[in-house]
């Protein structure tokens, strides 16, 4: 069985935001609203005094094994594929926002009728969305089904985003997760996320 996961190396992310642009163009997200990107790279200063560092922190839907967004969804619009990808059925979603309230990773955004009007102007006749709904990263499942990688991974200039199969012991992503070098965000909440972060520069030697 395939179990998709992503590893993001914070040491090699240069904050170019190419992942954001690639995701937006691939998935036709509402780029006119900075709160509605499916993936977002935060630009942070961490540390104190002379130890201050600039750190870029990409975030996206964590495609949890125990996704609270799915358990609270009243219509069943949020579902999980056998390969671990959590997705939203746009036609079934009524947009109550419960999934956004439940998500600990701030990975849900509302796409309104107004966004759709703007989308038709911005993306032209190729615009695919047919109904308003809550929106989220789908690990570009339409690309993954073709044997490709998510758009953000394909475009990452620093190779900081890696995508692979946790159930394949030969996959570098699975090996990195198994080694403990890549860690999930906020595991104490019990969501069992499938996006992992490498944040220790020493690990890379």
């Amino acid at each position: 069985m395939t179990h998709y996961a992503m590893v993001i190396d914070l040491n090699t992310c240069v904050g170019c935001n190419a992942c954001m642009a690639a995701c937006a163009m691939e998935n036709q997200t509402p780029v006119w609203d900075k709160n509605k990107w499916r993936t977002y790279v935060h630009d942070k200063e961490i540390g104190l005094g002379s130890d201050v560092q600039r750190r870029f922190f990409p975030r996206l839907c964590n495609h949890c094994d125990n996704p609270p967004c799915m358990t609270v969804c009243p219509t069943g619009a949020t579902r999980k594929k056998a390969n671990g990808i959590v997705f939203v059925d746009q036609d079934l979603c009524m947009g109550c926002g419960a999934c956004a309230m439940a998500c600990p990773y701030h990975a849900r955004v509302p796409v309104t009728r107004r966004d759709m009007r703007e989308g038709r102007e911005f993306y032209g006749s190729d615009y695919r969305r047919t109904s308003p709904s809550m929106d989220k990263c789908s690990f570009c499942d339409h690309l993954v089904e073709q044997g490709r990688k998510p758009a953000c991974v394909e475009t990452c200039v620093g190779y900081s985003r890696m995508f692979g199969d946790l159930d394949d012991p030969n996959d570098p992503v699975a090996q990195m997760v198994a080694s403990g070098a890549a860690r999930a965000l906020m595991p104490h909440i019990g969501t069992r996320p499938n996006v992992y972060y490498i944040d220790d520069i020493r690990w890379r030697g």
């Binding site: 219509t75 439940a102 308003p132 709904s133 965000l185 944040d199």
Partner: protein
């Protein structure tokens, strides 16, 4: 992980959802209390009609607040189907929608025989035509035959609505303020407390019948106990937040440093009505003004509780 945490309050569910939760709890508990009163304490036609009417109207208004903010209103048909409860058994909104619908249905049915017996509806043209239709007369006779069963179906669904409002908030694991067992307890107790207050307002103003005095006294006493229970739950919640995660501590700071919460809700919405009702229960009142004041304050406090609860839910993000 070597990152800064940021703490943010949500902007998606704000005052309009607080109104939904408030009207949901208040309307459902009002209906449940009036029907139980009618079934087991004292048959009371006027109280049932007002209780059922208020319950249905409040629930409808509250549901409209939620419906108005749906992104795709046609997709709501999915949750109107009772199968949604089974297909999405972990989703409290699916349960809540069904509780609300069936509470309204059984509530209207329970009140129907009383409505037909009452003079006023027969003078209103639209309603008179409706309640005199053979189908409605037949339904009314059938309901009368199984009146208590219908009443219990309405009560069960009503209690379901009152409890669900807190369970809904508890189902969001990332917010320490909401994701704890005190919340469903707090919201349920508050729903029944505000329902008692609402019924006291009704009984001291529109339904001022001397024969109902013992019902009013009972409501006052129950409300007193409920306010005390609410204060105990709030104290437990305070202790939980004080010693909890950073998100919990931030929520505590937001709530307990806000005069609207501290003075508005706890002071004027709980402690002052508690003292007023305590005085009334222990020594009685010469006038209905103090108990009406207490009831109005409890009603306002019920909204403030939900308003500030929505506003103070703090998420912790590791970026």
């Amino acid at each position: 992980m070597d990152v800064n945490m940021t703490y943010a309050t949500q902007e998606m569910w704000t005052w309009w959802l607080a109104i939904y939760l408030y009207f949901g709890g208040l309307g459902a508990a009002t209906l449940a209390v009036t029907f139980l009163t009618d079934m087991y304490l004292k048959p009371n036609r006027a109280l049932v009609i007002w209780g059922a009417g208020a319950g249905v109207v409040l629930l409808a208004l509250g549901s409209l607040m939620l419906f108005g903010h749906l992104l795709d209103k046609t997709a709501v048909l999915t949750v109107l189907n009772p199968m949604a409860m089974l297909n999405q058994s972990s989703a409290w909104i699916a349960w809540g929608t069904q509780f609300i619908i069936w509470m309204m249905v059984w509530g209207v049915l329970y009140a129907l025989p009383y409505v037909r017996e009452t003079e006023f509806p027969h003078r209103v043209p639209g309603i008179r035509d409706l309640i005199d239709k053979p189908f409605v007369i037949g339904t009314s006779k059938l309901v009368q035959r199984f009146h208590r069963s219908v009443g219990w179906l309405a009560v069960i669904n009503g209690v379901g609505v009152a409890v669900y409002t807190g369970l809904l908030l508890q189902s969001f694991p990332a917010v320490a303020l909401w994701h704890n067992p005190a919340v469903p307890l707090l919201f349920t107790v508050s729903a029944f407390s505000t329902a008692m207050a609402f019924l006291l307002v009704l009984m001291y103003t529109l339904l001022h019948d001397q024969a109902d005095e013992h019902v009013r006294v009972l409501y006052e006493r129950i409300d007193l106990v409920l306010i005390a229970a609410e204060l105990v739950i709030l104290f437990s919640l305070y202790q939980y937040l004080k010693n909890g995660s950073e998100s919990a501590v931030r929520s505590l700071e937001l709530l307990w440093n806000d005069y609207g919460w501290l003075i508005g809700f706890i002071g004027f919405g709980l402690i002052l009505p508690f003292l007023l009702e305590l005085k009334g229960v222990m020594r009685g009142w010469g006038s209905r003004v103090p108990i009406l004041t207490a009831a109005v304050l409890v009603l306002a406090g019920g909204y403030l509780l939900r308003h500030y609860f929505m506003y103070a839910g703090v998420y912790a993000y590791p970026w």
